[in-house]
Amino acid sequence: MDPTIFLYLSSGLFLGWSLGANDAANVFGTAVASRMVKFTTAAIILTIGVILGAIVSGAGAAHTLSKLGSINALGGAFMVAFSAAAVVAWMTIVGLPVSTTQAVVGAIIGWNLFTGSVTDYSVFKTICATWIASPVLTGFFSYFIYKGVMKLLEKSRIHIIRLDALTRIGLVIAGALGSYSLGANNIANVMGVFIGANPFQDFHAGVFEFSGLQQLFLLGGLAISVGVFSYAKRVMLTVGTSIAPLTPVGAFVVIIATSLVLFLFASEGLEYALASIGLPTIPLVPVSSSQAVVGGVIGIGLIKNARNIKWSVVGRIVVAWVQTPLVAALVCYVFLFFLQNVFGQTVYNPSQYRLAKDVLVHRGDAEDAKALADVIGKSFPTSGQLKSAIDKALPDLDAKTVLQLVDDSLVEEITVDPAKFKVLEKLNVIEAERLDALRTLSGKTFTYRWQLIEALANQTPEWKLKEKTVLNKPYNKEIQKDLDLVMDAYVAKMK
């Protein structure tokens, strides 16, 4: 094992620290600020929840961000994590709740810009949408839920002490569940870029098995906990007291409204459930808990007394949201320059992009193939250069298709190495029939990733993606997950 890997990993741990210090407020901010849950109690619950979530369900979410950038050098990964962490840490020190995911996205875009890689700019549209949709939806929900709860409490005549106990239990349970999902959803942001360079070995002790990935995530989870204990209180107080005063019941309503908005508007499970019983689905909206919680607090502030809301604080928070991805991109770009030119580190491994005629034929675009005759077969060192060549030849092609073409043109030379079958088998995730199909391709080499995927689909219908409908989404996602595992085994992500 190369010891320098730990030096690189340190920036992932820094990012974990920032995430813990900032995003813990989404889960326990209102509870701690309303003095219903002691900070230490909240920090302990957060630690346990985050680590469990990271280890148990963290691997499922690990691929969400990898689509954004194809960071292929440890130096680059180091700087992406470092810049995102630095921006979030700065926001934490000034006590403003921001989204760590958005900082990471910004930093990846910085890397893309520096290395001349293509960026899917629609991601910016998504992020802008979260700034508006999350707080507005949650504000709306918390406004009406709070009104309903207060009506109910008036009728139920619960003793003030009993109400206190019930609210406390509600806050602790909601906080524990929130901590678990914080760990499960965010460990990938913290450690995801290092999965390709994981220094940990699988560890066995009888029936007990602890995979290298789980060890990596445990380390990330620990970093998050340190962040929670050392610095989370300030952002918690901003969320829970600085925007508007919050009662314990209000604190609970904010958490419930946030979870409800995340569940209704971001849950593919619910979408599937509705579609499978023939009901219309709720459109999936990009929502982020950091933004949602702020909206929830404002919603309750509006009921009680709109004059209590400190709009100056809200304004500072909104400015911080906008700054986070932009500054992260800028910081990453500038620091990559220094890392590469001053410290002589590799931040990007040259790759080769070559548009194959097959891609176009495969897509049935004969017309496009003619127009792109000059581009086909030519090698480009960066995805950006290939993209501008395609844009030049076919200016009318829509951005999504261009990005797909570029993605499909990365030359990877994947050889199906029989030695890796054992590793995949041991994961115990991929179905036997799918593994058998993979075995039949043993020893073959594929220039492009899509060729391997196509070859697999030709072997068995088990590897075939179904038509893109809401009902087929879970099935396709499962295939995609298995494919990602296969690719992780055969493609050396990080050098």
Partner: protein, 219 residues
């Protein structure tokens, strides 16, 4: 770790019971005061008065203990963080009512003021109004803990009985000073009328603060 923190609901029930018992005690104090004054007027020297005095002493002690216990629980278990200060002041104020009633009974027993027979009916009325004001303050406090919307329904009664008590004490004092009693005796009787009326004033203070706590909770 404090063991009581582990049995959350059990503790909740206990604290609730302590709260209720405390309010019961204050309410009983009012009743005991009224019947104690009656006993004194009927036959100052017999055992009834002594029994009533002991009863109100016991109630005062019990009230003190329960108040301390609830205060301790509120702080050690960090309960109701948003209204803890208000609830503590409310408890102190209600306990103050018990203290004043006990003091007044004690003074009656020691100083034995000789109220002329013709004042007895009005004195009983005054004691009745005072006890009703205390009772209404207790009801308002109960509502504050369980049913915040109906606090106002009880508060206005406190104000009403306090006014009644003021009127009765005014009438009594006029009658005392119009009588042919020696001045020293007049002043002695006047002091007792004022002291009894003061209980209703204290109940009104409780109600005034409670009105503010209620506005805070409803805001």
């Amino acid at each position: 770790m404090d063991k009581s923190k582990l049995r959350l609901f059990h503790t909740t029930k206990e604290v609730e019971t302590h709260f209720d018992s405390f309010l019961d005690t204050v309410s009983q104090g009012g009743i005991s005061f009224r019947s104690g004054l009656s006993a004194y007027l009927e036959s100052a020297g017999n055992g009834d008065m002594a029994a009533k005095l002991k009863q109100i002493n016991d109630l005062e002690h019990k009230g003190d203990e329960l108040r301390r216990q609830v205060e301790h629980e509120l702080y050690t278990l960090a309960l109701i963080p948003d209204f803890r200060g208000d609830v503590l002041s409310l408890l102190e104020d209600l306990d103050g009512l018990l203290n004043v009633m006990e003091d007044t009974m004690g003074s009656l027993d020691i100083e034995r003021p000789a109220f002329p027979q013709e004042l007895h009916a009005d004195l009983r009325k005054l004691a009745e109004s005072v006890a009703m004001a205390v009772e209404a303050a207790v009801m308002a406090s109960r509502a504050f803990l369980r049913d915040i919307q109906s606090v106002r329904d009880h508060l206005h009664k406190v104000m009403f009985y306090e006014k009644e008590a003021d009127g009765q004490s005014d009438k009594l004092k006029r009658a005392i000073f119009a009588s042919s009693l020696p001045l020293a005796e007049k002043l002695h009787l006047r002091r007792f009328v004022d002291q009894i009326d003061h209980i209703a004033d204290e109940a009104e203070d409780v109600a005034d603060w409670l009105a503010i706590y209620t506005i805070k909770r409803l805001d």
